[in-house]
Amino acid sequence: MIESFLSGFSGLVAGFLNLQWPSVVMMVVGGGLLYLGIRKDIEPLLLVPIGFGCILVNIPLAGLMEPHGFLRTIYDFGIMTEIFPLLIFVGIGAMTDFGPVLENPVTFLLGAAGQFGIFITLVIALALGFKELEAVSIGIIGACDGPTAIYVTSKFAPHLLGAVSVAAYSYMSLVPIIQPPIMKMLTTEKERATVMKTGRKPVSKTTKLLFPLVITIVGGLIAPMGLPLLGTIMLGNLMRESGVVERLTRASQNEIANVVTLLLGISIGATMEGRIFLQPQTLIILALGFLAICLDTACGVLLGKVLYVFTKGRINPLIGAAGISAFPMSARVVMKEGQKYNKKSYLLMHAMGANAGGQIGSVIAAAVMLSVLKGMGII
């Protein structure tokens, strides 16, 4: 009888007995993410489920990430099949007004320069000893676009998913802190004070409707491996611009995006098991992610400087910094910085164009990357 009591009791203390220090550290990390989300309001929609998922998966013996475990089921269904990031993309397309980039299509180029950090970081990751597909997944943090980073990493380096996702979402929210010093360092005061012409150049409804179709077809033909990314964001945008499927548009913007964000967040948290996450390489990935976003900003500003010269001072190089995918946060940062140096400077609409270009740019960069990998026979 006593033996039976003892064995029954051992079941209640087994969790404590099996608790190892990596799991404890990760619970603290999970708590830290919850703190950032709840108290500091940093990407709470993602950091709260990620932080909680991180705590859940590090509780021993629960087997949540074992085959048929609750988190494993969500992870396999949504992340391994790439469904979650793609559904998020439909929502992003439905939420984003690409009007500013269509008003001034040259800002597409700033959206391209804002992705260069991806490729430079990829090379640095290779030099630091990461394998090819790991380097690709680390570089993609520079897309400054969570769903793209998750899509690529879950495909090629799922063991890095936790670190890459946390880096992507954390740095995205730190854009207002990361970008201004780089913008200041690479531009002169005269350049920063440049006033750009205001006045909107409205775009016809037909052009707005053709935009998602043209981008899908042209982008798909150039980089077919990235078509799921491009196709879903453009489907969302077509629904928005057509105005005839308002229910679907609203559902993509709200219900679908919310449910998927919850499941995506908790699944990412589930990849943060102590024994996998607590490796020196995680710190290197976080550092490289930071570098990628700094390089994106620097390349965007440098292209902005080139355009400043070519247009004889009509383009403020600061708007180049908005060529990343952190929409519309980066455009607001540019506007604020521009006004610091010239109160008459209203860069918001121009920066929004670059920022919308950056949103397309990040998807195109990922698509190009995947198709180059396919062409080289790596995937």
Partner: protein
Amino acid sequence: MDKYTFGLTMLVVGMGGTLLTLGLMSVIMSILKKIFPHREEAKDKKAGNA
């Protein structure tokens, strides 16, 4: 393929491909804007011509 070749290929073709693709899209969208100008502008022009 060694890592050096892989990295360099990704850098050149990746960056170049991204820039070219977005450049092409920029050109196509500029052309589409010309073919399908904003309706109010088109109306104004017609009114002006009349």
